[in-house]
């Protein structure tokens, strides 16, 4: 009889396909995870501190306590993601053993290896990785990432970097697909990515995996703008639980992500949400403290 094969590339990228059109929310407790689920999150990202707190408190940011991840997995029925440090393959092994549904190899945590990212192919659990441009996205996919999120600048509430990164990736894909076949060899060299993958993107006019946006989304209008710019879905980190009314804001961002082309709906859901997270302008963040520059 037919065999079951777990951890195939198709099953890994397939879960991300199921998340399309949805919002993935950062949570630091089981109670927050329940609030996110009740608000309509398609998945939650379990972590110890949201990026805004990592930014303000400083220090080395690492994988969460396994107890916390267990509690969050027990609290919700939607997929649970968790972050491992860039290159920290043992944190990833631990997260897989805990039964998380996706691992985010994330620049929000302190990198564990400034040369190599995790070799993601041997894992059964899928990985999502950040990217600021097409070449970076394709390098992560080459290493086995089954989902890409543009990085933005986490923990700021300033959407400008998220805008820049999704526009860059989309623009580079459009430029690539306008090239003739004989130009793709040099394009692969310039993108520092394998030729076969470059040719596939040029032909399909899209990445071979789902592309979400992250890093600075704080309002329903921010989320809808990312969707109009071509994102498949949205990560919201500090923007929800650092705001005045997390329940209402979470619901509003979910609705705006679905009805992203309808300004009347976005206006309606934006009413009476209380204070958005205070935020910090990316231009005020000194360059060494910009998280998007981690990873390569």
């Amino acid at each position: 009889m037919a065999e079951k094969t777990v951890g195939t590339p198709l099953v890994k990228s397939g879960l991300a396909e199921m998340l399309k059109g949805g919002v993935i929310m950062d949570v630091v407790t089981a109670d927050q995870a329940k609030i996110a689920e009740d608000a309509g999150a398609v998945a939650v990202m379990a972590l110890e501190r949201v990026p805004a707190d990592i930014r303000s408190q400083g220090g080395v940011a690492r994988m969460s306590d396994p107890d916390l991840i267990d509690q969050i997995i027990a609290a919700v029925s939607i997929p649970v993601m968790a972050k491992a440090r860039i290159g920290h393959f043992v944190e990833a092994q631990v997260l897989q053993s805990l039964g998380v549904d996706y691992i985010d190899e994330s620049e929000v945590l302190s990198p564990a290896d400034y040369v190599n990212h995790i070799d993601k192919w041997p894992f059964t659990v899928p990985f999502v990785c950040g990217a600021t441009n097409l070449g970076e996205a394709l390098r992560r996919i080459t290493e086995g990432a089954a989902m890409i999120r543009s990085k933005g600048e986490a923990g700021t509430g300033d959407v400008s970097e998220a805008t820049k990164h999704i526009r860059t990736i989309k623009g580079e894909i459009a430029a690539l697909s306008a090239k003739s076949d004989d130009e793709l060899y040099v394009a692969a060299k310039e993108l520092q990515a394998p030729y076969e993958l470059v040719r596939q993107v040029a032909r399909d006019k899209k990445l071979p995996v789902v592309l979400f946006v992250a890093g600075g989304v704080a309002t329903p209008a921010d989320a809808a703008m990312m969707m109009q710019l071509g994102a498949d879905g949205v990560f919201v980190g500090s923007g929800i639980f650092k705001s005045g009314n997390p329940e209402a804001r979470a619901k509003a961002i979910v609705q705006a992500t679905t009805a992203y082309t309808d300004p009347a709906v976005i206006a309606q859901v934006s009413r009476g949400l209380g204070e958005a997270m205070v935020g910090i302008n990316v231009s005020d963040v000194p360059a060494p403290h910009r998280l998007a520059e981690r990873g390569w």
Partner: protein, 200 residues
């Protein structure tokens, strides 16, 4: 109306809408997205995609498409649900979140995430005698299982006997995703066996 090419709606609130559209494109079948109640007018069938069932349920109520979908199903519109779509067609759920509702239409009991988390997700091939031919390619992604098929016809079972596909009248629900694997025969069969007869 016999002979008129069908137009199929894909419920497009959240989930793998694009993959179902690609299968319909491959079969050269016209389709459009359904978000609001009025979007159902003039359709010959509806596909409820994979995604997060709790989210699709909520959004269908928020955007007022729920009542129209429920009455279309009760009125006999042919429906195909994959994974979350099967969950949304089940009359009874195991493992629902607080307040989660379904559209109903299949008199079956379905358990959400019945295989466990993502590390248990798998690819396989599965015999579907009703469709005939070679076993179909199937991706099970945090998939549900039909724990009690009730009076529905069983379309697919796993080797251990778990029921993963059923039909009851106009409603077809399967636990797995032929659409993410490029398998078109389940959709082809649904169009021929459920949608076309309903057009006459």
């Amino acid at each position: 109306m016999a002979g008129k090419p069908p137009v199929i709606g894909v419920l497009a609130l959240q989930g793998d809408v694009r993959e179902h559209e690609q299968v319909l494109d491959a079969l050269d079948v016209a389709h459009r997205q359904v978000r609001l109640a009025g979007d159902l007018d003039g359709l010959d069938g509806l596909i409820i995609p994979g995604g997060e069932s709790s989210v699709i349920d909520k959004l269908s109520r928020i955007f007022d498409s729920r009542d129209a979908v429920v009455s279309a199903i009760r009125g006999g519109m042919p429906v195909l649900g994959t994974c979350a779509g099967l969950i949304l067609l089940a009359d009874t759920l195991v493992g629902a979140i607080d307040g989660q509702q379904t559209f109903g239409g299949l008199p079956v009991t379905v358990e959400r995430n019945a295989f466990g988390g993502q590390v248990e997700s798998f690819e396989t091939v599965i015999d579907m005698p009703t469709i005939g031919g070679e076993p179909v390619a199937a991706a099970f992604i945090r998939a549900p299982i039909i724990r009690d098929a009730g009076g529905a016809d069983v379309l697919a079972t796993l080797p251990n006997g778990d029921v993963v596909g059923v039909r009851f009248g106009n409603c077809v629900g399967i636990s797995f995703h032929p659409e993410v694997i490029g398998e078109t025969r389940v959709h082809r069969w649904w169009l021929d066996a459920v949608v076309t007869p309903a057009q006459r």
